[in-house]
Amino acid sequence: MMNSLYHFPRLTAGIAALCLILCAIVFGTVVGETALPLVTVGQTLANHLWHAGYQVDRIEAGIIWSYRLPRALVAGACGAGLSLTGVVLQALLRNPLADPYLMGLSAGASTGAVLVSVAGLGGGLVTMSAGALCGALSAFGVVAVLAHAVSGGSGGGRAAQAASAIILAGIAGSQMFNALTAFIIARSANAEQSRSIMFWLMGNMSGVRWNDVGPCVVVSLVGTALCLWHRRGLDAFSFGADSAASLGVNVRALRGILITITAIMVGVLVSKVGAIGFVGLVIPHAMRFLVGPRHTKLVPAAAVGGAVFLILADVISRIIVPGQVLPIGVITALVGAPAFAIILIRGARR
């Protein structure tokens, strides 16, 4: 077909993907404002994993184990998860511009998380992740209703109009939830809280520690497994929902399951690292170009590509301005905004 990766043997591809992720994690651990030798990283990991007893500088070991490694793991998990949400939304909505950030899901999740953490909604019984999940689901509902109203219920018949409607509805939804978040912060947060929340809202990995690794990795792995389980259902949507139904897909059930998974992934990941944009847009398109549109290959490729991309974006955010750590969302937006423009132009030409 178009390129050799279409027919890359499955086992070789799996091993290569695993090596790529491991290399990215090691790179994310070695590179930073203070460059640390690879040997030190290896010895620190050996000390913690197998009690190897190497002599390592305590400060360097602390940077590697407590700061950079969890950060690289969370970046990888978030990249994989956000990329998969893009794959699922683009397939189910048959819209190449569908992405949790552009569709306002991330903004909704942020509002939910801020409502819980700052305004104290739920009286301490509700976690930030649960708040973010409710926010993401609410945002999806708002955007779906708005898009239906804007497109006049055109469905798949007028694809270009439906695609524009989703984006317009996403912009409106994002603005509404962002305004709501700003209102909550202005009403309930003090100056210090406001500053840190605004920084977090742009996508920020600075506060990531080991206790954030578990939820992010679990939600991304489970999301990948469920997307792979439903890979043929996602393929069947290539020609629309009716076509999928005629191929034996229970369209309503599949949409319900996968949109819930998407909302859970967005909710958990946004509650940990804020609203990181464009990963769900850029990576699925890049991976479709490499491995083709069939989800048997696209799902794992998008997960691996997203993981590597966000780990590298995190490294760049730490070293691009000496003495300062930029929000990771700035880096992803610098890559994603031009990619968004290219996809728009290609769509218009087609």
Partner: protein
């Protein structure tokens, strides 16, 4: 597969569109659905495919109510070729036809040599060998239509539903497709606009304003009165040199 429709009523956006439709198709027969634009042919096909809910009535497939079948079971028996179906994905012809095997693939069951065989047969049936690696957006309208039909054939259905399948096809491929469909040993229901093509079917059902106004042998159903009242044309029957009946259209009324 024997198909029996009993007093079927259906709505679209709360507007009643099909009224008290009843007929049956025997195993292996080819039924043509004809009628003016908006008469309800596509909706009836969607009902037969299990994609559109019935307001009342029933559809029986070999005596089993269609409504009681699971989506996957239904898709192993019925294939639908829609009138408008397109994708923006960079799918190849082979990718598209392989989608037809979806009802037979379970999450943990991989692609088998039998799936490959069915895909090859479908490619061959629509004369698309050599096109299997062509990307969808590089195909002509006719090639896309043939790929859709191949995807439906890859489902190895017992009932094949086609919504105006000869649209976008040149005359060579129109005749080739009709010959192919005519030779299939399965039950076929085909919505057609070309009444001369419809004459080749075993039976015809004429739908007008959502009602069945004629059903039976094509030559008997498409008489001059029906053509005048339902289609608004003045026409007469002619017998060609090959002995086949043809319609000669004189003018629109």
């Amino acid at each position: 597969m024997n198909v029996e429709i009993r007093t079927l009523n259906a709505r679209v956006h709360r507007v009643p569109l099909l009224h008290d439709i009843s007929f049956s198709v025997n195993r292996g027969e080819c039924l043509g659905l004809v009628g003016p634009n908006g008469s309800g042919k596509s909706t009836l096909l969607r009902c037969l495919a299990g994609l559109h809910p019935l307001q009342s009535g029933s559809i029986m497939l070999d005596g089993v109510p269609l409504g009681t079948m699971r989506a996957q079971t239904r898709a192993r028996k019925i294939a639908l070729v829609e009138q408008h179906s397109d994708t923006s994905e960079r799918l190849s012809v082979r990718d598209t036809i392989e989608l037809g095997r979806t009802p037979f693939l379970l999450p943990l069951r991989g692609w088998s040599p039998d799936d490959d065989r069915q895909v090859e047969r479908a490619l061959e049936a629509v004369d698309l060998q050599g096109f299997d690696h062509r990307l969808w957006h590089t195909l002509s309208g006719g090639e896309r239509q043939r790929a859709h039909i191949a995807r439906a054939l890859a489902q190895t259905p017992e009932l094949l539903l086609l919504d105006e399948p000869t649209n976008h096809l040149d005359i060579h491929h129109q005749l080739g497709l009709l010959n192919l469909l005519g030779a299939l040993p399965i039950t076929r229901v085909i919505a057609l606009h070309d009444l001369n093509q419809a004459l080749r079917c075993d039976k015809l059902a004429v739908i007008d304003h959502g009602r069945l106004v004629g059903f039976g042998q094509p030559a008997e159903v498409l008489d001059e009165g029906c053509l005048r009242q339902v289609f608004g044309v003045e026409a007469s029957h002619e017998t060609g040199r090959d002995g086949a009946l043809r319609l000669h259209f004189h003018r629109a009324l």
